[in-house]
C-alpha cells in the first residue's frame, strides 16, 4: 500500500510549490489547506490518528481561518495580483531558490547515506498513549504551553488594537 503514501506526498509537494509561487493570496491559501490535508493523510498512514485529527482541526481549520480573516480585513482587491507579478520576477527568486535547492540536495544526501534502517515496522500510537504521556511526563510543558497561549492572546489583543493617533510618522505610539 506504499503507493498511497507516494501519491499523497506528491500532492503535498505540488500544492506547497503552488503556495510559494501563486500570485493570489486566497488561492495560495487554498493550496496550503490542500497541503496540510495531505500531510494529515500521511500522519494517518504513519499510525498517528490523533496527529492527523489535530492537523485537520487546528492547522487546516483554525489557523487557516485566522489567516483568511486577516486577508479579508486587509481587503486589497485585484491590484495585488499585478503587484505580486511585479514582485515575483525570476531575478528575485532565482537566488533563494538555488540556495534552498542546494540545502535540499544536502539533506537528501545526508538521509540516503545515513544509517537509517528501513525495517518498515511502524507502531500504531493511539490517542490514549499520547494522552497518558502528555499528562504524566509532560505535564509541566502543558502548563508552560497554556502560559504561552495566554501571552499570545494578550499580545495579539494589544498589537491589533487600533489607536486614535495612527499617523505612523512618529514611532512612539506602539
Amino acid at each position: 500500500m506504499n503507493y498511497v503514501f507516494y501519491l499523497t506526498a506528491t500532492i503535498a509537494v505540488v500544492s506547497t510549490t503552488m503556495v510559494i509561487f501563486h500570485r493570489n493570496a486566497v488561492h495560495a491559501l487554498l493550496y496550503l489547506v490542500t497541503s496540510l490535508l495531505s500531510v494529515a493523510v500521511i500522519f494517518y498512514q504513519f499510525g498517528a490518528p490523533l496527529a492527523a485529527a489535530l492537523e485537520v482541526i487546528i492547522y487546516a481549520g483554525a489557523i487557516m481561518v485566522l489567516i483568511i480573516f486577516v486577508i479579508m480585513m486587509l481587503n486589497q482587491g485585484d491590484s495585488t495580483v499585478t503587484q505580486e507579478q511585479a514582485w515575483l520576477q525570476p531575478t528575485t527568486w532565482i537566488g533563494p531558490a538555488l540556495l534552498s535547492a542546494l540545502l535540499l540536495i544536502q539533506l537528501i544526501l545526508l538521509v540516503s547515506s545515513g544509517q537509517i534502517s528501513s525495517t518498515q515496522t511502524f507502531h500504531y500510537i493511539g490517542p490514549k498513549q499520547v494522552g497518558i504521556a502528555l499528562f504524566s511526563h509532560y505535564v509541566l510543558a502543558v502548563e508552560l504551553a497554556s502560559m504561552l497561549l495566554l501571552a499570545g492572546l494578550v499580545g495579539a489583543f494589544h498589537l491589533a488594537r487600533r489607536r486614535k493617533i495612527d499617523t505612523g510618522d512618529s514611532g512612539n505610539a506602539i
Binding site: M1, V4, F5, Y6, A9, A12, V13, T16, T17, V19, I20, A25, A28, S35, V39, I42, F43, F46, G47, A48, L50, A51, E55, I58, Y59, I63, I67, V70, L74, E84, W87, L88, W93, P96, A97, S100, A101, L104, V111, I116, S118, F122, Y124, I125, Q129, V130, L134, A141, A145, L148, G152, L153, G155, A156, H158, A160, R162, D166, G168, G171
Partner: protein
C-alpha cells in the same frame, strides 16, 4: 502493534526535508508579509511531520506529544504575527516587507 501499510522512515524524512526547503525558499523569495507567514507555516508543519515520523518509527508517543506542542506554538505565533501584519498595514498601507527599513540595519 506494528502498523502494516506504513512507508519507510527515509521516505518520511525526505518528504519533511522537501517541505521544509520549499517553505524556506518561499520565505526568502516573497515580499508580501502574508505569503511569508504562509511559508513559515509550511516550515513549522514540516518540522511537526518530522516529529511524528520519528515517533512512529521508534514506537514512542513523545513524537505526537511534541506535535501537539508544535501546533500550540504555531497557533500562538500566527496570532501574534497576524496582529503585527494588521498594525503594519494600518501604518504603511502596504504589505511590502521592504517598507520596514527605518532601522537602516
Amino acid at each position: 502493534m506494528p502498523f502494516e501499510t506504513a512507508p519507510g522512515l527515509e521516505a518520511g524524512v525526505l518528504l519533511a526535508s522537501i517541505l521544509f526547503c520549499l517553505g524556506l525558499a518561499g520565505l526568502m523569495m516573497r515580499r508580501n508579509v502574508i505569503f511569508m507567514l504562509m511559508s513559515v507555516e509550511v516550515c513549522t508543519n514540516a518540522a511537526a511531520l518530522m516529529f511524528v515520523v520519528a515517533g512512529a518509527h521508534w514506537g514512542n508517543a513523545d513524537g505526537q506529544v511534541m506535535f501537539i506542542f508544535v501546533v500550540t506554538l504555531a497557533a500562538a505565533e500566527v496570532a501574534i504575527a497576524l496582529a503585527l501584519v494588521l498594525q503594519f498595514y494600518h501604518r504603511k498601507h502596504t504589505v511590502d516587507i521592504d517598507q520596514l527599513s527605518e532601522l537602516r540595519g
